[in-house]
Symmetry: C2
Subunit: 421 residues, 2 copies
């Protein structure tokens, strides 16, 4: 169950006032990103299944009610109504994994005004976070040109939960796996990892450390080779392999990465050890990957952490959850710089020669002869289809990337046409 207190106070003050004034007519709220910002060409919709589970289990325990009573702000009538709160509305959404743009509704919620209002914070928090991370991670995937990318971000994620759902988002975006065991257990994401510098340092020397690790994990371990002298460590790896010990890969976490990788690759290749792969980590982000891959640096696998799990170049999206219809009337906020489009919307995607050409955001029920992205997923508080697997969600990313024009996939800024009808 998701505790009812995971919300902002104002959701509940508004609710009490809605109740006082009988304002329980049908409302439609739309969740969308206003502007993709300077660094993103597209979004990967993410977090929907997590959000649905949270919304459908959102409720107030007696302890929650007791806390709210202690604030001396709410009526007993209202607190009694809260105790019976269950989400009873409809949710329309773009399926997780689909590619999206600014001004396009990711999630739309319809139902009685208070029922849809109170889950605003919950819906925003979950969809914002996972869409943010998936939309960042997919850039590493496109930049790496098919080479595996792994999430090492847990330690710098903004909370343990941020690391957990961040790992989910990176896997949907196309990462090969994560170092995060909780994510491995919760979502069956493949897990990766070997050793830290502290492991190497705890032995008298690097050779003893490598031998000890191979002894513990004889089935092709990955050895961290940059603790003292990366090149000397590469020669040591060669010596150990010549003795018959197995090494799957070496990891380089610091220093002049392109130069070290080339030199280590040359050392390994000159000894006919081309099957030993090179994994690079340590503050890597998508522009590094892009630059190194285009420069022909022979890296096999990328482990990325901080920059991806915090979306450090753009750590938030301009995402909003706006009332767009109430009691059949269109609703629009006119404040400067912030415009809301009224009514429930459909997104229609048009292709030219199999390539995405433009999207049209149209009023629900009109002009839907193209590909329609928005689907009903919850009706009257009930999920109307089962959750897809993460692999199925990831397949949607793959399909959309395959049909996306090249300029959008590049790390340079490009704008896809979205027509607002």
């Amino acid at each position: 169950m998701t505790g009812g207190l995971y919300t902002d106070l104002y959701e509940l003050t508004m609710l009490q006032s809605y109740l006082d004034h009988g304002k329980d007519k049908n409302a439609v709220f739309s969740l969308y990103v206003r502007d993709l910002g300077p660094e993103r060409n597209f979004l990967v919709a993410c977090g929907l299944e997590t959000m649905i589970d949270a919304v459908l289990s959102y409720s107030f325990s007696r302890k929650d009610i007791a806390y709210l009573r202690s604030l001396n702000r709410f009526s007993e009538k209202f607190l009694g109504a809260l105790e019976n709160y269950r989400f009873s509305g409809d949710i329309y959404a773009v399926p997780e994994g689909r590619v999206l743009f600014g001004d396009e509704p990711i999630v739309q919620v319809e139902g009685s005004l208070p029922v849809c209002q109170v889950v605003e914070t919950l819906i925003l928090n979950i969809i914002h976070h996972q869409t943010l991370i998936a939309s960042k991670a997919v850039r590493c995937v496109t930049a790496s040109g098919g080479r595996p990318v792994i999430d090492f971000g847990l330690r710098r994620a903004h909370s343990l939960e941020s690391g957990l759902f961040g790992a989910r988002a990176t896997y949907i975006a196309g990462f090969a796996g994560t170092s995060n065991l909780q994510a491995g257990a919760a979502f069956r994401i493949p897990v990766y990892g070997t050793m830290a510098h502290s492991y190497i340092l705890s032995f008298p020397d690097e050779e003893e450390a490598f031998r000890a690790y191979i002894h513990s994990f004889p089935d092709k371990p990955v050895l961290l080779i940059d603790t003292y002298d990366t090149i000397a460590a590469a020669h040591l790896v060669v010596r150990l392999v010549r003795e018959g010990l197995a090494v799957a890969a070496v990891r380089i976490d610091s220093g002049d990465i392109p130069a070290l990788v080339r030199e280590v690759r040359a050392i390994l290749d000159s000894e006919n050890l081309s099957e030993i792969r090179i994994l690079v980590s340590g503050g890597v982000f998508e522009h590094d990957i892009d630059q190194w891959i285009s420069g022909g640096v022979p890296i096999d696998t990328f482990a990325v952490g901080t920059c991806i799990i915090t979306a450090s170049d753009q750590p938030y999206l301009e995402m909003a959850y706006k009332l767009v219809e109430y009691d059949g009337e269109p609703k629009v906020k006119f404040s400067p710089g912030k415009v809301t489009f009224p009514y429930m919307r459909q997104i229609v995607r048009r292709y030219r020669d199999g390539v995405m050409d433009h999207d049209e955001v149209v009023r629900w029920g009109t002009g839907t002869d193209g590909e329609c992205l928005v689907e009903p997923v919850v009706r009257d508080g009930q999920l109307i289809r089962s959750h897809p697997t993460l692999e199925e969600i990831h397949e949607r990313v793959v399909c959309d990337l395959a049909r996306m024009p090249r300029y959008l996939k590049s790390l340079s800024k490009g704008d896809y046409p979205v027509l607002l009808g």
Copy 2:
């Protein structure tokens, strides 16, 4: 209990290898920030109590062990040992709320190597997140010159948990409260909030919305006045107050904030309504606050969200958890650009005329005639003092800010001298 899977896989592969090779001698790990980065002059240590609770309850359930067994990587001997894992080491730390700098150990952990290694990810995640947010939030507090600052960040925090502990960090830094009810309930932080634009939009017009809200909350509500026309709404507020209705404050969330605030203030003052306060929200960050306060814009309260809860200008710290001693030997990693100082350390702070002059980071047990910041907090896996209250922790921030040289408190970059002995 904190589940054992909230860690990186490599912590456990290292652990199995330590067990295989009898490597359980005494180790010291040091958690510190390498470099404060371009935007921070100091850190506010934060997250210690949360981290201690997590470390002391860190354990592996049968379900955790079953998942680890399914990875086909671990020996039964090792999994059996994990089932009995409890943290049995010592923790030395700078108390939460103290001001700190780069290269200074925030937390030091001493004990058997595997016991201290396995909690690396957990300790880093928790201390990094809360220290990051407290160190960002304190900049709003110093910039606001005593005016209340409130956290409205939950919706854009990187997970619900990030919003919860982020609110804790902002309150320690000096925020007056939060909109986050879970944080209010969990940490007894004062909660704030009134209405969203959707509330106003759900009524036929603004006047009806204001009247309805005041009817529900007659005890001096805050009214959101920027949904349609901020100036017209200010005149409407005047009219309602003249009728005898109570209004505590107005909130402006968009538009040209300084111009609107001045104009609204003038309207209210000309009607002798100087007691009605003006609250500003909507993408506010510390440089806005600084600029508006120095420009004399008559804002009474700031509500900040996204920029603070994501530390958006610098969403991570270069924080590391490094082995600095094993079995009595100093440990240092020599990779270029990353240097670790060996041994357990004390931080000695020197004052001149009551103002912080410089810090010395010295080997534990030497030269401690000044103010020593590092204290033992856990011994043999047992907490050796009770947790302070958040108000006590916040008092430490207040004391340190009062003794801090002015150049550090400014939003311009300044470097405090830290001498490494």
